[in-house]
Symmetry: C2
Subunit: 261 residues, 2 copies
């Protein structure tokens, strides 16, 4: 749903909102309430609409999403295996908490795996791969970062395109498992990013740097310069992480309710 990872592999997480120009326009059959609510919950979890640590009561969710508890249980169960939701027997489901240590772990591994995947994609990618990167980059560059975080639609749009760009880079890595893991890490990182960046605090210089990094990675990848591409990608991730961590500590301090990380 949220990200474009896993698309077209046997490891699909949820049908992509980024629907490719499919043969028939309105062919969304074979769907069940359970699948729908899974996708919606997943989106809201990653977007931070459901707050970390929050209890997910059935009556509450049932009212909010307009579905019964049977499909809800199904969706929540899957989200437990996705690590987005926690479950304790007889005590219900809660939104998975955020923690600084998890953030560090997440980012370190994400950098490692994404660079690994990028290297493989550079070795194997064909012209379609190159074309997709350029297309995704173009779409991303044409989507301005929304000035207000309140503008959910705009944020969703940007996140989706950003996600899709990063996916396009590694799509040709020819390893469904690696793509799956990169997707999971990307989703979880997005959750931190969106939970924490409450103000568009980024300076214009930073934004420009990020845009340049995107472009540089894309160009290096297409030029088959694996060293340059991976080093810039790692740099790009490192930059994001630092911003997120800075904001995270700020937000933690301001909340000050010691939730122990």
């Amino acid at each position: 749903m949220t990200s474009a990872y896993d698309r077209g592999t046997s490891l699909s997480r949820a049908e992509s909102a980024v629907s490719l120009p499919s043969v028939a326009p309105g062919d969304d059959d074979a769907t069940t309430l359970g699948i729908e609510i899974y996708a919606r919950l997943r989106r809201d979890l990653i977007a931070g609409h459901l707050k970390p640590g929050e209890r997910l009561r059935f009556r509450q969710l049932s009212a909010a999403y307009g579905v019964g508890i049977a499909p809800l249980r199904e969706a929540l169960s899957r989200l437990v295996s996705d690590q987005l939701v926690r479950f304790e027997g007889h005590r219900g489901y809660t939104v998975a908490p955020l923690s600084l240590s998890d953030l560090h772990d997440l980012c370190a591994l994400r950098t490692e795996l994404s660079c690994n995947a990028l290297r493989r994609a550079i070795a194997r990618g064909d012209e379609d791969w190159e074309a997709e990167i350029l297309a995704a980059l173009h779409r991303l560059e044409r989507t301005p970062l929304p000035h207000s975080v309140e503008d959910r639609k705009a944020v969703d749009e940007w996140e989706q395109r950003h996600d899709r760009f990063h996916y396009s880079l590694i799509a040709a890595c020819d390893s469904p498992w690696l793509l799956h893991f990169c997707g999971a890490l990307s989703d979880h990182f997005q959750r931190y990013r969106r939970a924490v960046i409450v103000v568009t605090s980024s300076s214009e210089a930073l934004l420009k740097r990020v845009r340049e990094q995107h472009r540089t990675v894309a160009e290096a990848a297409i030029a088959r310069d694996a060293e340059r591409a991976t080093s810039v990608l790692a740099e790009h991730f490192q930059g994001s992480v630092e911003v997120v961590i800075r904001n995270y500590e700020e937000v933690s301090r301001s909340l000050s309710a010691g939730n122990g990380d």
Copy 2:
């Protein structure tokens, strides 16, 4: 359940059958039918008791496991996110198929991630880590490979100890995410291994080599010789993969029903 990975982290998959000497002996509360059936299905999926591609009908499962369909749906949903089960709306659940390409992907990434984790563990592990490795190795060496694959209990026992040994090697890597991914890959590889090794076809020489590899990896890890440890571990994995692939092709040929991989 099946493997010892994920234990004690926030990324727990199912409670470990390898229960550590816990404080109270019979403190298995907070369990639900859904959790239990999840663990049992997971075990049977990995052990190959449920055949790849097989349809998982509710009535059938309900009768076989003695639970209603509500807990079953819950368990199956989680197994979908675990990639052990496939789901198609209105067409039910099936056991995830095996394929040669998946096997290759799986093994390549498993080697990479496990060696990565081993390197980290060697850098960070303390005396307890060393002790656990030796303990797990000892237990593994004391468990003979069962002569017949029919002897389920013996096979389960060996697999569990083998799994636990490999887990002990990387347990100190200090990355819950990496451990989680290694565990997932390990579980899926085990599924291939057990699906395919229908006869204990391994020669005595091969078994001896495997045993030596286990011991060598353990010793190199404790001696903090990362290069040697990872290279032997990679070699060990490579050997397993080759045996599995050889058997896989044999089994595929004998079945001859072209299921297209």
